[in-house]
């Protein structure tokens, strides 16, 4: 960067934006992002939208295309009310993991905020989406918009053919099971839009093989001599135990029509698409915040941003990155933005300006100076849980004043296990890392058996961790939905 020291005219000096200024600023941001930070991004598509459109996008889980369902309407009226009452502001942007990467910017943003938002979403999030291993492996950025378009068309068509009510009931059930319908361990079968269409055609004409097996079993003459060996074989053939509930129901439910199976498939595919995002909140936001902070500071230093614009950016930046204390009235747990940003800034500090403590904790990276590579490696190869486990430094724990607390049922008190001191660092870090593990906060529910020869009751198993039970009321309501689409009884194993 030879021209750094030269005084440059600022990109803009008023709060109003226009497309020309945005384009000019985008180019400046892009120069820093690609040449200095060496980010690797999908092509960007930046869309300016009004607040109504932002509310629309909010309520359909941020996606530009979504099938119709009342629950999105519910979210919409809820958000609309909160917004019109001033109870909650709107996000400055929404960014979609697709290729090209679509970011929505609100038209009400000032020019300074547009710069912040473009640096944050169009480069920070974009780089993360393109490079993180979870996204690369589990979600299909090229295909998602096509797929949603297909899903929307298909469900609309079903509504026409079978009635809105019918489709609504099915979607209710599918949504209830959605969080328990992702493949956590094996790679989901990949399929393109063309494959989807073929599959759907085939489905219409072909008898489902699994159901065929059911009917076959129904008439089978020698049932009484069922042995353990046969049961094991049967389970193996049906792929039991199965963690993806909708997948199992889609394949094996004796009562569903092929269009219903297709809808279940759509819902679980969407659930799968969002699965990586749930595992990388801290990293994703941290990466975006780090990138926008670095880029805007760089632009300010070279004179491309005025002091006023920079102050406005810093104001928004620090609003988002507040970490309230546990006893503050606005306490809401760990703020993933704050934690992610602090850890990434800290990695940079360790690389460029390490203390003795850092040398002891991070001998590989302390003082290596190559913080760009180390951060990019972290962004690519970790998720929240492993990232915290690997990179949370005592310095960050101290600055957040972290402590870990145990809440045992039955005891009248909480216990402070560890605090931010020499003896506690490891334990605090372990606890924090585990609390960001999806396997920890999602209940582990699997279908373990279905008694096909008899009453076809579906048996589920909840692997209890640390004695934490399921919420009974929600659980019963969800089971009702499951029974509806399975067609027979479903219950948890005693």
């Amino acid at each position: 960067m030879a021209d750094r020291a030269e005084p440059t005219a600022p990109l803009f000096d008023s709060a109003e934006w226009d497309f020309e200024t945005i384009q000019r600023s985008y180019d400046a941001i892009e120069r820093v992002a690609l040449d200095d930070l060496e980010l690797d991004v999908y092509p960007n598509q930046i869309e300016i939208i009004s607040y109504q459109q932002m509310l629309d996008a909010y309520s359909s889980t941020g996606m530009p295309l979504m099938y119709r369902h009342w629950s999105f309407g519910k979210r919409f009226v809820h958000e609309e009310k909160a917004y019109s009452k001033g109870a909650s502001g709107l996000a400055y942007e929404i960014v979609i993991n697709s290729d090209p990467c679509i970011s929505y910017c609100l038209e009400d943003n000032t020019m300074a905020l547009q710069v912040l938002v473009i640096a944050h979403a169009a480069f920070g999030h974009n780089h993360f989406f393109k490079n993180n291993h979870l996204f690369r492996q589990w979600s299909d950025a090229q295909g998602i918009l096509d797929y949603l378009d297909y899903a929307r068309g298909f469900i609309a068509q079903c509504e026409e053919q079978h009635g809105e009510r019918e489709v609504e009931h099915l979607l209710d059930a599918a949504h209830a099971l959605m969080p328990s319908s992702v493949f956590r361990h094996r790679r989901p079968p990949h399929s393109s839009l063309a494959d989807e269409r073929t599959r759907q055609r085939e489905r219409r004409i072909e008898e489902e093989r699994a159901v065929h097996y059911l009917w076959d079993a129904f008439d089978h003459p020698t049932q009484s001599s069922k042995t353990d060996e046969e049961a094991r074989k049967r389970k193996r053939e049906m792929g039991l135990p199965e963690e993806n509930l909708l997948y199992f129901v889609e394949r094996h439910s004796p009562v569903l029509d092929s269009w219903q199976r297709e809808i279940l498939r759509i819902v679980r595919n969407i659930a799968q698409y969002f699965y990586p995002q749930r595992q990388t909140k801290v990293m994703n936001e941290g990466c975006a915040c780090f990138v926008h902070y670095y880029i805007t500071n760089d632009l300010h230093r070279t004179g491309l941003l005025t002091d006023g614009a920079m102050l406005e950016i810093l104001h928004s930046h620090s609003n988002v990155l507040t970490q309230p204390d546990f006893d503050a009235p606005n306490a809401m747990g760990i703020n993933p933005y704050a934690l992610g940003f602090a850890m990434m800034q800290d990695i940079r500090r360790i690389c460029t300006d390490p203390t003795d403590e850092d040398r002891e904790w991070f001998p590989d990276i302390a003082g290596s100076r190559a913080w760009r590579d180390i951060l990019k490696d972290a962004w690519a190869n970790y998720r929240d849980e492993s990232f915290i486990q690997q990179f949370l430094s005592p310095h960050v724990m101290r600055s957040f004043r972290m402590f870990s607390l145990t809440d045992d049922e039955g005891k009248p008190f909480y216990t402070v296990d560890a605090i931010h001191n020499e003896r506690g660092y490891h334990q605090v870090r372990d606890t924090l890392a585990r609390s960001f593990d999806v396997a920890e906060f999602d209940p582990d529910i699997q279908i373990v058996d279905v008694d096909l020869m008899g009453d076809r009751h579906l048996k589920l198993h909840h692997a209890v961790r640390n004695g934490v039970p399921l919420d009974e009321k929600a659980c019963e309501a969800t089971l009702r939905h499951l029974r509806q689409i399975w067609g027979f009884d479903a219950a948890f194993e005693e």
């Binding site: 300016i48 009004s50 629950s71 309407g73 959605m178 957040f400 049922e409 009248p412 969800t478």
Partner: protein
Amino acid sequence: MAHFIDRRLNPKDKNLGNRRRFLRRVRSAVKEAVDESVRRRKIADVDQQENISVPAEGIGEPHFQHDSKGGSRHRVLTGNKKFKAGDRLKKPPSGQGGPGGREGAPDGDGEDEFMFVLSRDEFLSLFFEDLELPDMVKLSLKEITISKPHRMGYTAAGTPANLSVSRTMRNAFGRRLAMRRPTNAEILALTQQVEELEALEKPDAARKAERQVLREKLDKLLRRRQVIPYIDPLDVRYKYFEMRPEPAANAVMFCLMDVSASMGEREKNLAKQFFVLLHLFLKQRYDKIELVFIRHTQIAAEVDEDTFFHSRQTGGTIVSSALTEMKKIIEARYPPSLWNIYAAQASDGENFSGDSQLCADLLANDLMKRCQYFAYTEIVDETEADLMNSEDNGMELWRSYRQIAEVWPNFAMKRISRAGDIYPVLHELFARKTSGASHG
């Protein structure tokens, strides 16, 4: 490389379909809330936006989730001030979250009530639901008055189409006078003089000097004319228009109701729906509507809306007292030359014997001449409604009013026992309005 797309002009109601599905889902609860709010609100405010809260059951989205209690939990909190490892903190009494345990329920799950805002349109649709209005009328009631531009003087800014030439020229003329812009005639005269002098073949010194002076004067005038324009942007005036609702006229609506003990809650609710409907109709037709509430037992009094619907009074029933009171108020405050007078009367049909003829006389001789429209509803039980299905028989008041209805076309009367009966009372009024609209 980036694409920039301006989506702001794209349709913004992407979610209407979802919103409609949601409302259908909570329909019965919303309808109840709407009816409740009609009961609660003032007549004039009925068609405002409304906050509706519906019970969360039926719109819950359950899934398998961990219970918020039980088991052994570990979590990391921030902002430690004085704790050391091994400290024990007393748990707060159950029902409250622990320290930092404020885990707000996401997407509104777990709330008992779900609040949201109904638009005016949605609200009215639900309000109209059991009134059994014809679709045409529903549409015309929802329509908000059209306003038309009216001339309101001049402004300095506007579009060329609204340019006021005469006012602009007048301003320019005044300015030219004040700034002493040289006129064409002045310059022409001077030019002629200069030309004459120049035409001389052998001017003497005096003539030369004169020519010099005149030429300088001419130059000065020409320069002055250049600097002071004929029309300056300062002079330009535009006609100013203000949007005014059309038609602009005043109406007063009299609500008359029998509040003696025989009028129960059901009767009052029906009466209120009746009044609201008439008010909605008037609101759309008139710019300004005043409401007058007259309640009566054996004596009548003007009261405010709250008292009108909610307070109880005991006593006999003399209907003519209300009509007399109405007459008094019209004479005192609402000269028929300035006000369109509408009246709506609700009663259970009982009257002090002998008084009904007096009522008929009051109406025939006086009130009907002044009123645009008078609607009378007799609120009866559903069982009674079956018995008295003929228009002809009824109690004394009903029979007296029948005479009026025969003579005066703008007098409407009807027995109502449920909300669906209300509309026919006002039927004629709406019919006139809609046919008028199609002609106009």
